[in-house]
Point group: D2
């Protein structure tokens, strides 16, 4: 079955996007990300040595079919975000940018105002913008209106592993969106990832849950399979929730 | 990795057990069950033509490595259950029995008293007893005490596809049990199955959610992958749930 | 409005039943239970000095309209329970008994088999039996069948304050029961109590959540009000859950 | 106990704010709102006959201690909102305004960008601004920064009666806010309202759940009591959630 995900001009076989934070070593990260079969990997610009084309972390990620997605993590407003995106474009030679603007250092929650402002400007500057945002359906529509190529609503506060805590809003976003919906942040286990896909999300982004596992590579495989399972179930249509059982067959009187 | 599930004297590669109710045709069932790679398939004795060794339904299920698990669905008390189990043993040449006693035709919920009584007697009669029960930790211990080879607590009322609605009790059962814990009933999507496995369940039994899907074979594959993903995640240890984020790296001042 | 709760031959104005464990002093307990306006208060037989009619704890509870409900907490099987109930009847001069049989000292979860056995015997011995049980709809029907005057399914493991974690089963119990349904155990806040009442429970029993509060008397009043609020809402019929809004009025063009 | 809620220069005895939509008659509304003891009642400007000081609906609401809170429901952007607020100030002689900007007619979800823009301008124009918003912690801080006197995050999409579906975010908002937090939208039953108050919300706004009940007056009383109960419980400090029971007293050997 051909079930590719298309964002801007790129097609992805894998609907599992991954991140590079919190791994205990570059080796472990490299092995886990390879096992995940992820084709889009986000990397914080602030962690890249932009003056060094031999940056160790980047080298440990890159493989054929893998696309780098620099992110603006660490910026506090639209102006800083736009500057960071431009730096990233130059250093990493990609016009894709994961837009993250979270002024609060405790919960790292995104700023809707600055994100929209930066998105609008970055689109004009020719970027493929992937904005990390609250699961706010109206904001999603506004981002789509200014030309972002997808929206990335959160499932729960980043790093909490709480799962899909924004269900009622994700459902609306998925219903209304004309661009791919990628659930970002909060996904702490393969079942969460499968659930997001069953709801109709186009992809998920997972970082912490893989990176901090006792066995990141095995966990990466688990996420890969769960994302595929959730997508297959979405395509095959899930059974509806019922209030009570329907006997699976007439109760015959074979005992009498 | 060797991660076989052992029940009584049998070992299973697959932790996805399946059922045979509600499929729209034997062909569809056959194809879906094969795709699921399930090695233990339950079949209601009442649906088998016990006098006909060429029973079509059974023929459509059997493959190498597949074990039949007759169930007593339709009986109302311990006496009927024991009688049905004996019939099944003779007709299907197996001493394995899935013990289901549900007097109420609407919700098909199991009777704890009759189930324990029948289990005790069936164990004495040499059966491998797999009892379908409420997620009642004390009942699980009592069944284990009379010699059942596993326990099969429900996730939600059967046929409802509601998922894991007995979480707080499943966790206790898994913590306390010395026999395999198989979550039976209520599992309506791959994410539910993955979740049960992540909690530490030893296996899940899925029927309705596969059988009534628009595409049972694809759904069977989705469940197969989700169960494997959940098991892998359990083995690799999930990240713990946090109250808030920890910044994935120091916020450097690269922008200044 | 006359909305009394009747159990056996007694009528209750208050649908908040209370317990006597874990209070830091008899004085605090006395004040809190008075403030709760509870008319049925359970007391562990093991904590009563049965040879002393001047037992301090009992004296601190009793007021006009208050009924004592001895419980069998601490017994491990039906035989011990029946013996304890008889002791209680003699010592406290009441034939009401809260039947609690929980062999496991960690979770204090009830034993369905021993509870049914003891209930049957106690009913024959003339007791008004109020059994504490898992939220198991089939067990509830069986207890009703042997003559218990109510059923007391748990909301969550006792002492956990987790709230209503057995929703799907409580709904079935309430739908099917011909005797009052009293949600016992797990209720940790007034909102939990209100929720149980909104579902159609006839009463709730609260102990830990009042006793261990920083201000037990104020918490007792909060529970009293929440139980009344939940009952009123049940009687007034709650609005149904909708998938989306209906605009509260036509969107007129007053701005144009 | 003195536990008044202060917003701007006004003090409220009641923490239940109410609305005026969807009642089947002015009489029923008048009776229910009186029974609720609410002291702040919101009214859609679009529903008021602004040229008629004898407007029937307004007359049916007003009582001593009741404050009218005009809302901008029906506007689509900041400009319309500011205009509507000015109209309301003139017509209803109050500088309080509930700011609602929801461009989508199906879910009526608020627009974060337009809301912040309008809020900033309205504060400069001397309004007491009460903004209805998504449960977005960063947006709440930004609104506080421009001078709104409170924030009104939603519990669930308006009119759905789904309850508190934004828990993880409301907790952060309550933790971080320096202005009162009023949970608006989604509250469908008294238990939901009590729950919001237990979390530490300063007030709740309820409309649909009262208006569409079979008995609005009784439901209004139920909400009033639930809000008080939740507030009392918050002040008295709730017991913490535990993983398992602690036996309520030593298990003595009275039976031996």
């Amino acid at each position: 079955m051909n079930d590719l995900l298309k964002i801007a001009d790129k097609e992805f076989n894998s609907r599992l996007f991954t991140g590079t934070g919190k791994f205990s070593s570059n080796n472990l990260m490299s092995e886990a990300l390879k096992a995940s079969e992820s084709e889009l990997i986000t990397v914080a610009l602030k962690r890249v040595d932009v003056d060094n084309s031999q940056d160790k972390m980047l080298q440990s990620i890159m493989r054929p079919k893998v696309n780098l997605l620099p992110n603006t993590s660490g910026v506090r407003d639209a102006k800083e975000a736009v500057f960071a995106a431009q730096l990233a474009r130059e250093a990493l030679e990609t016009n894709w940018i994961k837009l993250e603007i979270h002024p609060d250092p405790k919960y790292l929650l995104p700023d809707p105002i600055e994100t929209l402002k930066a998105a609008e400007e970055l689109v004009k500057l020719g970027f493929v913008v992937m904005p990390y945002i609250h699961a706010d359906p109206v904001l999603c529509k506004r981002l789509e209106d200014v030309g972002t190529q997808c929206v990335m609503p959160l499932g729960a506060p980043i790093g909490t592993n709480k799962g899909i805590k924004t269900l009622d809003f994700l459902e609306i976003i998925i219903e209304q969106s004309n661009v791919p919906v990628i659930v970002d942040a909060g996904i702490g286990s393969p079942s969460h990832a499968a659930y997001a896909m069953e709801l109709g999300a186009d992809a998920v982004l997972v970082n912490t849950a893989i990176a901090v596992s006792k066995n990141p590579t095995q966990m990466a495989v688990a996420f890969k399979m769960a994302v595929e399972a959730g997508r297959m179930a979405f395509n095959a249509k899930l059974a509806s929730v019922k209030k009570h059982a329907e006997a699976s067959s007439p109760l015959t009187s074979f005992l009498n």
